[in-house]
């Protein structure tokens, strides 16, 4: 039974406190000045953790967000976090005994790709904003600004700004920026949040089922990297290539087993997506955003959400209109695919949008994309 702490009634947790006291804990509350090469993680999260050595060697990551709104934190838990912390302490103990061997073992967890911009404030679209060009602390004591988070570079701003800046510079936007840090269910795995890396459920007809994985198995290593959390699985999937074959080492009871997850050519693009960053990019590029309809139909059905009134002035598009074709293409798209479609069009090029509205004939509208 946990004792109650303050009169407010939040539970105290001595076990958590003891585990935290084994670490030097640092809380970073904004992204200004952060080394984007070292601290690579899903940026569209409200909370994320790195476990690392004082020399910067990363042992693992913790923190997973799977949706917007309620349930967005359903993939993390106190019990799971404690198990991940314990595993990180084990890695650190191994590092103490044999630093070189441990460095080799965790080499895959270090940043393998240099980001285009080393720090958030260097990303062109952020650098143009006067509040992002200086450290947060220069604004943080001004009443009103702090309350609204003005001057604070949030993680999700980095995610969107990298994409928009690459586009502005005419450089390709990799798919992993549009579908970042895939959830394990991309390969058919649902993880048990109360554990470090135990499988809760394996989806039928997926690569995980083909690999022979079962509920209750614990993933020890994936693609040669030890797994401290679901975030570590996402890290590996984030950089996994199409058609990749990822070796998985797992335990079933006391038995140590291994198998291979064979990814399909378009595994990433098939992922349904919830990211509001992609909604924001659609808005910036096309002047509207919207979510593809549910039901998994083969035809395009994007229900219009928000509209940029100024940009689409004179265009007869309203909230809740359903877009059934884009540039004449009527195949279904998920949110990531819509974002990809818009990013692949040239800045300033014409977009043709066919919309349906209750009680009216289907109409095709045209306007130009953001330059």
């Amino acid at each position: 039974m946990q004792s109650l702490g303050r009169p407010g009634g939040r539970p105290k947790d001595p076990e958590l406190k003891k585990l935290l006291s084994e670490f030097v804990c640092v809380r970073v509350v904004q992204m200004w000045g952060i080394d984007l090469e070292r601290f690579q993680i899903d940026r569209v999260m409200t909370w994320a953790v790195f476990f690392l050595n004082a020399d910067g060697t990363i042992y693992g990551r913790y923190g997973t967000r799977s949706s917007m709104g309620q349930g967005s934190d359903s993939e993390i838990s106190l019990a799971g976090f404690k198990q991940s912390m314990t595993a990180a302490l084990d890695e650190h103990a191994r590092f103490g005994k044999d630093p070189e061997a441990t460095r080799k073992e965790v080499a895959g967890k270090q940043s393998v790709h240099k980001p285009r911009w080393a720090r958030p404030e260097k990303i062109p679209t952020l650098a143009r904003n006067e509040f992002n060009a200086k450290p947060f602390r220069e604004f943080s004591d001004k009443p009103g600004l702090r309350a609204h988070g003005v001057g604070c570079i949030h993680g999700h701003m980095v995610q969107s700004a990298e994409i928009m800046s690459l586009r502005e510079l005419g450089q390709p936007v990799p798919d992993r920026k549009v579908w970042p840090y895939p959830m394990p269910w991309a390969v058919g795995l649902h993880m048990e949040p109360e554990t470090r890396s135990t499988i809760k459920r394996v989806v039928g007809n997926t690569v995980a089922e083909e690999a022979g994985l079962r509920a209750g198995d614990t993933i020890e290593k994936l693609d040669g990297q030890s797994i401290l959390s679901t975030a570590d699985i996402q890290w590996i999937l984030h950089y996994a290539k199409d058609n990749a074959a990822l070796k998985v080492h797992y335990t079933r009871g006391s038995e140590a087993l291994e198998s291979t997850l064979k990814l399909s050519p378009d595994w990433r693009q098939k992922l349904g997506d919830w990211r509001f960053t992609n909604l924001g990019i659609c808005m910036q590029l096309a002047g509207f955003n919207g979510r593809p309809g549910k039901g998994g139909g083969k035809s395009l059905a994007i229900r219009v959400g928000l509209i940029h009134r100024k940009r689409l002035a004179g265009i007869d598009l309203k909230r809740n209109d359903v877009i059934v074709a884009l540039d004449g293409k009527s195949e279904s798209m998920n949110l990531g695919q819509l974002t990809r479609f818009l990013l692949d069009k040239k800045p300033g090029s014409e977009l043709s949008v066919t919309r349906k509205r209750a009680g009216e004939e289907t109409t095709t509208l045209r306007w130009k994309l953001h330059k």
């Binding site: 939040r10 539970p11 947790d13 640092v26 509350v29 999260m45 790195f50 476990f51 050595n53």
Partner: protein, 75 residues
Amino acid sequence: MKGKFFRISVLFGAIWFFQTALVAQEESARLGGKALKEALKDTADDLWIYDDLKKAYAEGERTGKPVLVSFRCVP
């Protein structure tokens, strides 16, 4: 008599329903990420260094402890 029995049954049923709902809500909060974030806020205030990674690395070097970096927007 029957009417009284019915009213008492409904009352006990309602109490049972609300109690079950409350327990389920508490259990869900305990298991989810919300409980984790609340526990972190509550138990470890004195352990955190704020916005100073250099200081954390130096402290890690000095004490031999690993470093835990938490990214969290200002609450």
